[in-house]
């Protein structure tokens, strides 16, 4: 008898709570997934496909769903992995592929035949040209995704690393060079 009462009380509790939760789940329904936009903002937007997804937004969506790891993006580098880890509270893992320095593509104008295949391949429309006209890459818009290299039938596109110039030079982290002491010099300088 007692046990039936116990079961009845628990069942009553369960029903009440279940009903409350059901009501709440309808009232507090969440549409869409703003997290995807936050992840997309961290990704470097090179649209290169090295992560295996056709662009940065699909990769962001996959990360938001939790389907993939956060270390698949080489252009984002370890810093991108770190920022994704901070945002999502996930573990920082080393990059899947090796991290390459920033590069831009350059067309060798002597070899270009004007076939427009690279223009169609560029995901950010950074190549200017038309059929049978010279093609050229706008260096400022090139993201270094390397998607234009395979389609070129005469292999006239090469990647060049962006070097340091006076405009993008950065101060280095202050380090103290530890030098071996010169035995010949006195350790304490006397006042001149």
């Amino acid at each position: 008898m007692d046990i039936l009462l116990a079961i009845a009380i628990m069942a009553l509790g369960a029903v009440v709570l279940g009903a409350a939760l059901g009501y709440a789940s309808i009232k507090f329904k969440v549409e869409g997934d703003p997290l995807v936009d936050k992840i997309d903002a961290i990704l470097p937007q090179t649209q290169c496909g090295q992560c295996g997804f056709p662009g940065c937004k699909p990769y962001a969506e996959a990360i938001a769903k939790g389907e993939v790891d956060i270390n698949l993006c080489p252009p984002g580098g370890m810093e991108g992995v770190q920022r994704l880890a901070d945002l999502l509270g996930r573990e920082v893992k080393p990059l899947d592929a090796e991290e390459k320095p920033k590069q831009i593509a350059i067309i060798d104008e002597n070899t270009c035949i004007g076939c427009t295949l690279c223009i169609q391949a560029c995901p950010v429309d950074a190549i200017v040209g038309a059929a049978k006209q010279m093609h050229t890459i706008i260096a400022g818009q090139c993201t270094g995704c390397e998607l234009c290299l395979p389609p070129c039938p005469v292999e006239c596109i090469r990647m060049e690393a962006i070097g340091e110039n006076i405009d993008n030079w950065k101060w280095k982290y202050p380090v103290v060079e530890i030098k071996a002491a010169d035995a010949a010099r006195p350790a304490i300088k006397e006042a001149a």
Binding site: I9, M10, V30
Partner: protein
């Protein structure tokens, strides 16, 4: 009046649920890396703990005791807490998806937070009335949030510090928590005013 005040102060400082009673260490360690998440977690736990204390008292007083079903306490409390946490999750998902993502797994883990179960049980053990239970629950939650925020602040500063390699991460966090517990032992002297 002073009786209620002592319960409150006692719950926040003297018998701090994390540093003196050593309950609820899981979110304390897991969510305290950033100050923003600590605020969020503190708020969520306060919400859950206060509601849970009130609901547990009502269930115990009106459903369990009259029918002599004391042995169902743990079970019914856990079910109530689980429902309340579920509700909290939905509210947070609606109001702040970032917080939900940053709290991550620790949001549903409030269900298994031993502080959230422990406080109602302590209430029953102490024989507190409804108002006293609520005060004790709210005070414990405030104490939890306070310590969580303090700890998060310290951990954020430690991030920039020169910690020896083998101490980085969880180790230095544990050392810090231990030192904080030592500090909170100083509040034990307040007990004699009760």
């Amino acid at each position: 009046m002073s009786h209620y005040l002592f319960i409150l102060v006692g719950a926040v400082l003297v018998n701090n649920v994390v540093l003196v009673k050593i309950l609820g260490l899981c979110p304390f360690m897991g969510v305290s890396k950033k100050l923003e998440t600590a605020y969020g977690m503190g708020a969520a736990t306060t919400f859950v703990l206060t509601l849970a204390t009130g609901a547990s008292y009502i269930i115990d007083h009106f459903l369990l005791l009259p029918f002599g079903l004391e042995y169902l306490r743990t079970l019914s409390f856990i079910v109530t807490i689980a429902a309340i946490v579920q509700l909290t999750e939905m509210v947070i998902a609606k109001t702040s998806p970032t917080l939900q993502q940053t709290l991550g797994i620790y949001l549903p883990l409030i269900t298994t937070n031993c502080a959230v179960l422990g406080v109602p049980l302590i209430n029953i053990a102490n024989g507190n009335g409804f108002v006293e239970s609520l005060l004790f629950g709210a005070g414990s939650a405030v104490g939890f949030s306070l310590v969580l925020i303090l700890f998060a602040g310290i951990r954020e500063r430690i991030e920039g510090a020169d910690v020896p390699v083998h101490f980085r991460g969880a180790a230095i966090a544990m050392v810090t928590a231990g030192l904080m517990a030592l500090a909170f032992m100083g509040f034990a002297g307040l007990d004699k005013y009760q």
